[in-house]
């Protein structure tokens, strides 16, 4: 698609705004510092675990830096509009985040904010 006038743009914005929203978003800070600290295996672990439980309403995305570089790799889970930020995540923690925190709604350790 190519935007050739203002109404094209408005239409695109409308379409995006009306897209079905996932109830839960998981974000992995995936910039130079995060990747250096080991964000790649964390993303892979999250993907694997999400697939395993066949979760439909969870979206996983890689983002830039959230600013909490000291605790990289970081993962932010947004559930019912509430953000929970996990720090020093590794693949074991990633599994736990999906299984316990996202799926079972249990409070788990590793929250930094």
């Amino acid at each position: 698609m190519k935007i050739t006038n203002f109404s094209d743009f408005d239409a695109l914005k409308n379409r995006i705004a009306n897209e079905q929203k996932d109830e839960i978003t998981i974000r992995v800070a995936y910039a130079t510092c995060g990747i250096t600290a080991g964000a790649k295996p964390v993303v892979e672990a999250l993907e694997k675990e999400l697939l395993k439980h066949n979760l439909c309403c969870v979206s996983l995305k890689t983002t830039g830096c959230l600013g909490a570089c000291y605790a990289e790799p970081t993962v932010m889970v947004t559930k019912d509009g509430v953000d929970t930020l996990f720090g020093y995540v590794d693949s074991v923690k990633a599994h736990e985040i999906v299984k316990e925190f996202v799926l079972n709604g249990k409070e788990i350790e590793g929250v930094i904010k």
Binding site: T4, I16, R27, A31, T32, T63, C65, M76
Partner: protein, 485 residues
């Protein structure tokens, strides 16, 4: 103190490789708004009224700069984004480019519309391969969607962006040097005027702004100048992003309103000093700035206060130092950087920084004389006043500010031949604590240069003049009686 995100509004929240995620968060709406509703002059008026000042270091009012650039008519004009981020220890611009590249593209297009330019260039340092990749990807996506290219939104206005990759020279962050480097030449600065606004890239009118400056543009357009100027202090509006690094607990990026104090940044958002050591200083402005001692912890941070404190805002690097850091050593570190990075074009900078570094070397190796302090000050002042570009004009700042705030440390090195932080290896000597020494003689036997005297069962002592600081006595002692001093 809470953080307030304008420049970092999307960073960490959106997927930088997904243009729709950016659009969902009001992306490209500011560009649409100016192309639909604003004249070029109105854009400039709005930016001027917002009070936004350049975030690349100098703090020049952005609207005024755009007005200059617009006033020169030419068939070709350029919008340049300075993403050289040369201050070692600063990473705000990298984070913005990696986390929210479209915000820079959109702002550059708005600037292009305002100053009547159709071509943008981003000068990005080669050390940031991921930023290069994400920005190029974003440029391609925007072009594909028609948000870059000819006739954007069907209007007369067209804009394209090209990335130019640097090759590792700090001086290329200076705008005239940057332009020469983009032309494929040695990045040597030239005398201003003419300013780039009049004669820049290929002698055409060129507007250069920093990454973070651009990152503030779209919110100002969408929320209005009055909103932006309500944040911050009288002369410094909006927020500033700092890259907190060094001996602080929560190393990372913080964006706070101008006027926030150093204490709030370091002890609030930053969580205080690592390992609960004592705060000694924070360096802002990198090699061009100065060290702020604890006396400045409660000074509100803005352009003018930092200059008054002997430092400068710089691009936003903030290196926190604790009791274990030697301030003479830090000054020497920065001078070494400036000696390395001086392009060599003008003598005061090329030779002057070298001489300054030599004097510091002399002091830290234990050969300093009291007259050296005066020499540093005099020569430093001279280099500042006579260098051609900002590099030389600011290179002595780390020395001058540390002499000012940490004179006792210089005196300890020069007079007592001691390094209070135990960092300068030539000055690290050992001593024996008489309360702990039991006279076992182990240390005396371990010392390779026979610097330790004392008879069995009597307190031993070390002759400072003979001690070479090898630490063998410390390792040998079973009673913890030996310590560095």
């Amino acid at each position: 103190m809470t953080e307030y995100r304008i420049a970092l509004r999307n960073s960490g929240l959106i997927d930088p490789n997904d243009i729709e995620d950016y659009i969902k968060n009001d992306g490209y709406s500011a560009l649409a708004k100016v192309l639909k509703e604003y004249s070029a002059d109105k854009v400039i008026e709005e930016i001027t009224a917002s009070g936004l000042r350049g975030r690349g270091g100098g703090g020049f009012p952005t609207g005024v700069k755009w007005k200059f650039a617009k006033s020169y008519n030419d068939e070709a004009k350029f919008v340049v984004c300075n993403a050289d981020e040369g201050d070692p220890g600063a990473f705000m611009d990298r984070s913005i480019l990696e986390g929210d590249p479209h915000s820079i593209i959109e702002a550059m297009a708005i600037c292009g519309y305002a100053i009547e330019s159709n071509q943008g260039l981003v000068y990005l340092r080669a050390e940031y391969p991921l930023a290069i990749k994400r920005l190029q990807n974003a440029i391609d996506d925007a072009t594909e969607l028609g948000l870059l290219g000819d006739n954007i939104f069907g209007t007369e206005f067209g804009f394209n962006i090209e990335i130019k990759i640097g090759a590792g020279a700090f001086v290329c962050g200076e705008e005239t040097a940057l332009i020469h480097s983009m032309e494929g030449m040695r990045g040597e600065p030239t005398l201003k005027p003419p300013f780039p606004a009049e004669s820049g890239y290929w002698q055409k009118p060129t507007n250069v702004n920093n990454v973070e400056t651009f990152a503030n543009i779209a919110p100002i357009i969408l929320k209005g100048a009055a909103w932006f100027s309500s944040i911050g202090t009288e002369k410094s509006k909006g927020t500033k992003v700092f890259a907190l690094a060094g001996k602080v607990k929560n190393v990372g990026l913080v964006e706070v309103p101008m006027g926030t104090t150093l204490r709030e940044v370091i002890f609030g958002v930053g969580g205080g000093i690592e390992n609960d050591k004592e705060f000694k200083a924070a360096q802002t402005g990198g090699p061009s700035g100065g060290a702020l001692s604890k006396d400045f912890l409660d000074t509100p941070i803005d352009y003018d206060n930092l200059i008054a404190a002997g430092s400068m805002m710089g691009s936003g690097g903030m290196i926190v130092m604790d009791e274990d850091d030697c301030m003479v050593g830090i000054a020497k570190f920065y001078l070494e950087f400036s000696v390395d990075e001086s392009c060599g074009k003008c003598t005061p900078c090329r030779i002057g920084t070298k001489r300054l570094h030599e004097i510091l070397e002399k002091i830290t190796s234990g050969n300093g004389e009291i007259e050296d302090l005066e020499r540093l000050k005099k020569l430093g002042q001279m280099v500042k006043e006579t260098s051609l570009c900002g590099l030389g004009q600011t290179a002595p700042n780390p020395i001058l500010s540390t002499i000012n705030s940490f004179k006792d440390e210089y005196l300890a090195h020069i007079v007592d031949k001691r390094c209070p932080a135990h960092r300068c290896s030539d000055l690290v000597k050992y001593e024996i604590n008489p309360d702990k020494c039991v006279g076992c003689t182990l240390c005396a036997r371990a010392c390779p240069v026979n610097a330790i005297s004392g008879s069995p069962k009597k307190v031993h002592s070390i002759n400072r003049d003979l001690c070479i600081g090898c630490g063998a006595c410390d390792t040998a002692c079973n009673f913890g009686a030996v310590f560095k001093n």
